[in-house]
Symmetry: C2
Subunit: 222 residues, 2 copies
């Protein structure tokens, strides 16, 4: 557990909390670290979520399976993100998503019940924690709206250009790497992979973009 302290204390979840306090709080919240492997389900659709899952290392896809069996990738989460945070606040709500591990991942798991209630121990910093949670979930909210923007475009071309433009802005550079392989990007943008590949080639041949594997260059401003 101790070997993860440096990662944990750098998380926005514990922003504004000293090392000594952190140690106490982790005990108080029943915190422990769990390892996940590729394909492991961290959260399953239908479960009641009462814990906070903080990604210390690795990648997690937030997915959903449609009634007709297609996969939707809703979000891609990395280190310092929380998984299913919105679900813990609304008690007794069933998870409407799956959280699937991509590669290896380390997750810090905390008991939210204990986080949200004040306790007699030195944990007078619950207030800071809740405030941090609010900031984290706000950021997630903005990203969800951005995702809605991406997939709300009319054509495959517009979806790609909007997505790449948003990624470019996030990286503050017109050269950047995307976190998806082609199939996952297609599932994220809700389009057919092969049609997407075709459109990417076309955009490249027309000089709008360039790419090699996951490394992209956006040559125009959208």
């Amino acid at each position: 557990m101790e070997k993860y302290y440096s990662k944990i204390k750098n998380s926005p979840l514990f922003c504004g909390i000293t090392d000594a306090e952190l140690e106490k709080m982790l005990k108080c919240f029943g915190g422990y670290v769990k390892k996940y492997e590729d394909g492991d389900m961290i959260i399953r659709q239908g479960e009641i979520i009462s814990k906070i899952y903080l990604i210390l290392d690795g990648e997690v896809n937030v997915e959903k399976e449609t009634y007709w069996g297609r996969r939707i990738i809703i979000q891609k989460l990395y280190a310092n993100n929380n998984i299913g945070l919105a679900l813990v606040a609304s008690k007794n709500i069933e998870a409407n998503i799956n959280a699937v591990c991509v590669g290896h991942a380390l997750i810090l798991i905390l008991n939210y019940e204990k986080c949200s209630r004040m306790c007699q121990n030195a944990c007078m910093h619950h207030g800071v924690l809740i405030s941090n949670l609010f900031k984290i979930i706000s950021k997630e909210n903005i990203e969800l709206i951005e995702k809605i923007e991406n997939i709300s475009q009319k054509t495959i071309r517009d979806k790609l250009l909007t997505y790449l433009s948003n990624e470019s802005q996030k990286h503050k550079s017109n050269i950047f790497e995307i976190p998806f392989n082609r199939q996952d990007l297609a599932d994220y943008l809700n389009i057919d992979r092969s049609a997407m590949s075709f459109e990417l080639s076309k955009l490249k041949s027309e000089g709008y973009i360039n790419y090699k594997k996951n490394k992209f260059v956006l040559k125009i401003e959208v």
Copy 2:
């Protein structure tokens, strides 16, 4: 101002706060009520948002204009919802959406800076407020994910059935009213209005649904 107290105190924003405290808090947060009319922009894309907008009465569309000039309706908000709440937590972030008034609306406006900082007055309930904000935005995130589910369906038919099924579940009844006219529903689901109308007729003639204006009956389980 006083005449709105009953509406304000029933809002989830002030859940767990007594009447006497409420009055003090409203003063402390510089709270005031503003009236908006149909089409008024409450929040504009590009603005820096530093206030909390609580809908006391009326409807608000959260919209976005695409680079190519199409309108996307991201969310429909009602009384007791907050507008652009995620934006205030991330300071100095430009609003990525427009909030447009639909019909008449009453909005309570609070100074978030004052909400997020403790003060010397009787406002020891800032903690409760932040905790409420966390719950509110959590609910909003779950709804955004639901919206993503709706628009991620492959065909117009699947989008409609998923949307109607989700609405039906929300109303806990297979008979319900939807808050959109046809054009707005089309902009919400990112499909063409006329194509949507056509598909609705088809679903009706095939016996899957029934409707008259905004009143829908879902006859199958999706």
